[in-house]
Symmetry: C2
């Protein structure tokens, strides 16, 4: 089985897509064969990896319908050893459409199991919701990585997210574990950031990564060039932080 | 009928809740009787208006089920003339649960029609999705206000949002109009912001408010005190901008 990480948080705008795209790029740079699955109808991860909207042939939507397998949907990106299973706007209607299918929570899991032949790591970018798409990601995954913006509203949703993860662990996917919580858009000058970060570390302890992703404008510029920030400007603080995150992730697994 | 505005954008973290809470407060400060409907399972608008999670009795969920009317769910807030219809975590399952009901897109509309007796304005805070909850808000509303963060990924989703609005206008709610687009978290020092803002104004022209909401840390501190920023720190740039937004909104309607 490829190691599969769902990148999830129902709070919007906390850095899920940015983490999926850049952590995947860092893992590929270290020599692992990586695929990003864009499970968000917005399709931001697909854009961030340079896949133009018009060029998205077979997508994750066809995988959920059982009409295509992982290999058919995975396309190369400008980054060697990094592939993408692109999003589709049709995902917006998937909740209602797939809700009556048998084993509706396992539609992605079967396809991801088939990815092991060609990939070491699969990262799934989730939409900002705890809907059927995110549940499919949690069922298909071995681990959940939770990007957490250091803001008060973002803190509020963490308990609901942890309850959902526990529910999936108890029922649909007993092997699911928490990879960790990564603090994003961290601004040292902002007292609120410091106090939210202290709260989170106090509550979750070692489940919070040491690596913190700083707020860095180069990170938000990169997607407009269809590039991960690691390629757009590898010297900037954001790119450096994502490389450290990849190293810490592998270290925590005992592979660093 | 009370004037009903849906505050919607499927992109996460663009300032929907912050705009709903603070625009509502500014309208109440000018003397209008206002209600905020929190249609997001995260319940951030409820928290931002000081409604503790344990104190949320009858919620918008009971309204959607037809078990309660608007008046039964609306509770007072610390702000005179501003009421809240609180969220419920049960909204997370509402998509699947309500999808089989007849007239599933009109569940909120009937209740909002009953709000006119007590309110001049109703503002609906939407979740980061184009799901059945957001569709219910677009059907219940007269106008849609679109908060737009000046970031590349946020720009990407606007076309999809406009298509959804047009589809609702053609079918479910012909009276729905675009109130306007408001630029949020604007940082003058950030070139990306300037170029995204120029793009948006070039494309949408006068549908973009003159008032721009600046990035201002006091805005993100206010929710941790359960207060709108207009009350937390009425002199700060964020609070001033939301007051100007309310004035511009009324001026555009010919009521200013
Ligand atoms: N470290 C950072 N520094 C500066 N900007 C950032 C950083 N991380 C993300 N951003 C920007 O913040 C915005 C939100 O990030 P992103 O889109 O990755 O979040 P998300 O959780 O995937 O959002 P959604 O909930 O809509 O899927 C984007 O415009 C992104 O470019
Ligand atoms: N003008 C501003 N200046 C600084 N911070 C802001 C501003 N507006 C909003 N924020 C902060 O940015 C974050 C995102 O804003 P908010 O939660 O209102 O967005 P949203 O669109 O409602 O998010 P979601 O998609 O999760 O519902 C919040 O932590 C909020 O406090
Ligand atoms: Mg995203
Ligand atoms: Mg919100």
């Amino acid at each position: 089985r490829a190691r599969t990480i769902a990148i999830a948080n129902q709070k919007g705008g906390v850095g899920k897509t940015t983490t999926a795209v850049n952590l995947a790029t860092a893992l590929a740079a270290i020599g692992r064969r990586v695929a990003v699955v864009d499970l968000d109808p917005q399709g931001n991860a697909s854009t961030g990896l340079g896949a133009a909207r018009s060029a998205r042939g077979v997508t994750v939507y066809e995988i959920l319908l059982g009409e295509a397998d992982f290999a058919a949907a995975a396309v190369a990106t400008a980054i060697p050893a990094l592939s993408l299973v692109p999003s589709s706007p049709d995902l917006a209607g998937a909740e209602l459409e797939l809700s009556t299918r048998p084993r509706r929570e396992f539609l992605l899991e079967a396809a991801v199991a088939g990815a092991a032949a060609s990939f070491d790591d699969v990262l799934i970018d989730c939409p900002p919701s705890l809907n059927l798409l995110t549940i499919n990601a949690l069922v298909a995954a071995d681990r959940v990585l939770v990007p957490l913006q250091c803001e008060f509203y973002a803190l509020e949703g963490v308990a609901q997210l942890m309850r959902t993860i526990e529910r999936v662990q108890r029922g649909l996917n007993p092997r699911l574990g928490l990879e960790g919580i990564v603090l994003t858009m961290y601004d040292r000058r902002n007292n609120l950031c410091e106090s939210v970060a202290a709260d989170v570390r106090g509550h979750f302890g070692s489940r919070v990564y040491d690596t913190v992703i700083p707020r860095n404008v180069r990170v938000s510029e990169a997607p407009s060039h269809g590039l991960p920030v690691l390629i757009y400007d590898h010297r900037c603080p954001g790119a450096q932080a994502y490389m450290q995150l990849a190293a810490e992730l592998l270290r925590r697994r005992g592979e660093g």
